[in-house]
Amino acid sequence: MDVTELTLKSAQTGLEQNRFTSVELTQSYLERIKKYNPKYHAFVTVNPQALVEAKAADQLRAKGKKLPLLGIPLAPKDNFLYSKMRSTAASKLLDNYIPQYDSTVVSKLKAAGAVVIGKTNLDFWGHGSSGEHTDYGIPHNPYAFDRVTGGSSSGSGTAVAADLCLMGTGSDTGGSNRQPGSYCNVVGVKPTYGRVSRYGVIAMASSTDSMGPLTKTVEDAAKFLSVMAGHDLLDATTVKLPVPHYHLNLETERKFTLGLIAEYFEGLDKKYLKVIEAAVKKLEDRGHQVKRLSIPAVKYAYPMYCLTVFAEIASNLSRFDGIRYGYDRDAFGEETKRRIMIGTHSASSGYADKYYNQAMAGRKMLTYQFKQALETVDAFIGPVFPFPPFKIGERETDPLKMYLSDVLTVPANLTGNPAVSVPIEFVNGLPNGLQIICKHFDEQTMFQIAHQVEEDYQMYKLRPKLV
């Protein structure tokens, strides 16, 4: 078996037809992890019990047990708690933290028979869109070793792209699944806020955190999400809607109306504009309609994001006082301290009206404008990143410039809409994704459109040459 050829679907077929066992599959990935992880830093911690879990899965299969992810080696981002392994959120503050409980998502994955092969790297606490802010080695882009992977789900993006596991989970607060999706040539999904439980995932910003998959193909992502998603009594912001089997309904004859929002294209690099327009043209050739529209509040989305999300960051990180777990607050990395400072100031007395309250009211306006616009189209189509993956260390010095790389992904987090990055044509020889944003809880349409884009490009067939 060559794991670089595998998708979730083909791996499941292989397991079902007894062409290989979960132990063999897991072993193959562990060997690649051993070989490549020291350079690529995709994992913070490899699960020493991975083969034990794989063996248990094989035994279940031998007994005739059928489970949706039985024996599939996958990797949660290291901010998803799993009581059998340490969870660091890539910050040395939690270097030795062994959680006392499992996150709902990991519980569901385990109940579905999955093998946790390891915990993936991230910008610590989710604080970054390049992958460079981590205490556990900066992940390197499998398609261009000296370049960033996108973040904050940098490790999951790297691990899936480099075939170090089949699938990874990520948490998308301002673009964290779509950005490494775009830069690592994989599918990165941000589901609707409330679709997937946040319980047991170390919170970055409570009102925008959305947990979702990073996978090689749209079909894999669709199936993975149908396992992760659903109402959770322990998360009061999850909804009681049934979870469709998204992967069984990817083919459609429907003709969609696709919205191009002017504000997403303003000042976009010409090379980017060209590949996005080419992708849109292919969709038009399939009979879909394109409609151009404007959502004025998008222009202010980044300030809205910064002033509300950073306030939540400061609040959510208050519990890390070194008393009940972890080390003292001076162990926070500098980027985390910067965000705590900005967020604390935004909500503080005398400034809250200018910053936090204004941003929150703006957010309501943006949400309303998104809703109105999505009554006239089925989806928005646009870029994910305003520029290609840059060289590691290149942008580190200017926080504002770094923050603004999130400008195209944060609107969907503020409004709660589902969004995906699906790989399209490379720009300057570097990976690039197309962003598709849909109505609340309409992940099905989002996957259908993404599936067609994937058929047009089939970028998953391209494998990186690892060093």
């Binding site: 009102s207 009061a236 009940r324 306006m365 926080p399």
Partner: protein
């Protein structure tokens, strides 16, 4: 033009319970000014000043008044990740109220 003076940085750091070095205080003073000056453009947006909450459409999500034994930690589990404990308690430096 710096809108966040080193003095204000120190005040914010105190609110946030963050130990900062002298170097960080100066650095943050200029970086935070830069970032917040940029974010200040938001004031150009004409907005209904009504108080807004971050929630989507959900309301009234509550639980029944029932004991959930499945999540209760033993004393040992509760203390397992603490650096300092004493006879079943978490231990901190003396606090004077």
């Amino acid at each position: 033009m710096s809108s966040i003076s080193p003095k204000l940085v120190k005040h914010i750091a105190k609110l946030a319970n963050l130990p900062l070095s002298a170097g960080q205080i100066n650095k943050f003073s200029s970086q935070l000014s830069n970032v917040l000056d940029f974010m200040g453009q938001l004031s150009k947006l004409k907005i209904d000043p009504k108080k807004a909450s971050p929630h989507l459409d959900l309301t009234n999500v509550t639980r029944e008044d029932k004991i959930d034994t499945s999540r209760i930690l033993t004393q040992k589990q509760a203390l397992s990740q603490a650096r300092k404990t004493h006879q079943g308690y978490f231990l901190v430096k003396a606090i004077f109220s």
